[in-house]
Symmetry: C2
Subunit: 112 residues, 2 copies
Amino acid sequence: MRHIVLDELPGRPCPAAAALELVGERWSLLVVRELSFGKTRFGDIVRGTGAPRDRVSARLRSLEEAGVVERTAYQDSPVRWDYRLTDAGRDLVPVLDALVTWGRRHAVAEAQ
Amino acid sequence: MRHIVLDELPGRPCPAAAALELVGERWSLLVVRELSFGKTRFGDIVRGTGAPRDRVSARLRSLEEAGVVERTAYQDSPVRWDYRLTDAGRDLVPVLDALVTWGRRHAVAEAQ
């Protein structure tokens, strides 16, 4: 599983920077959001995030390497995968919650 | 000030996606972290983040557009700027705190 050595970070040796190194990409966090909503299928994750399919595919792989996502085959020939959050992945929900709170207050246009 | 219309987001119309659209870039959040530590000078922000100077410069501009950062001149000819968080910027501290918590638990290599 991929982990970050704090002293190898370019700036301040800070756990937030380590976290962002692993999951700090917009599509990564939105993939985690879809999984936290119980979406397990690739197509649903693509629809929910609105990201290009190849981007979602790359993010799922890096989230798997980071120990945030695990996949299991639900069908053979052709093999099809279900994606789920690990315990480490579920621990990201407070990050998403904090983003929702901030987004509601400061990012969303008034007119809605 | 830049705001996001939820219905114009590519995927699910969600405030977290809107937040990530404005501040969801690794260097952006690390710039906010440096400012939250009271670093106000460009050089200190570059050092703290470990990001390339031109990247920090671009991120400060987009954070300013998002209403997260404000700058004031502290010197004329040549003009030099101080950067500070706005109220909206300080409201991002819980996002950073959540990332620190997650990073400590799941992103940082054991050996440290």
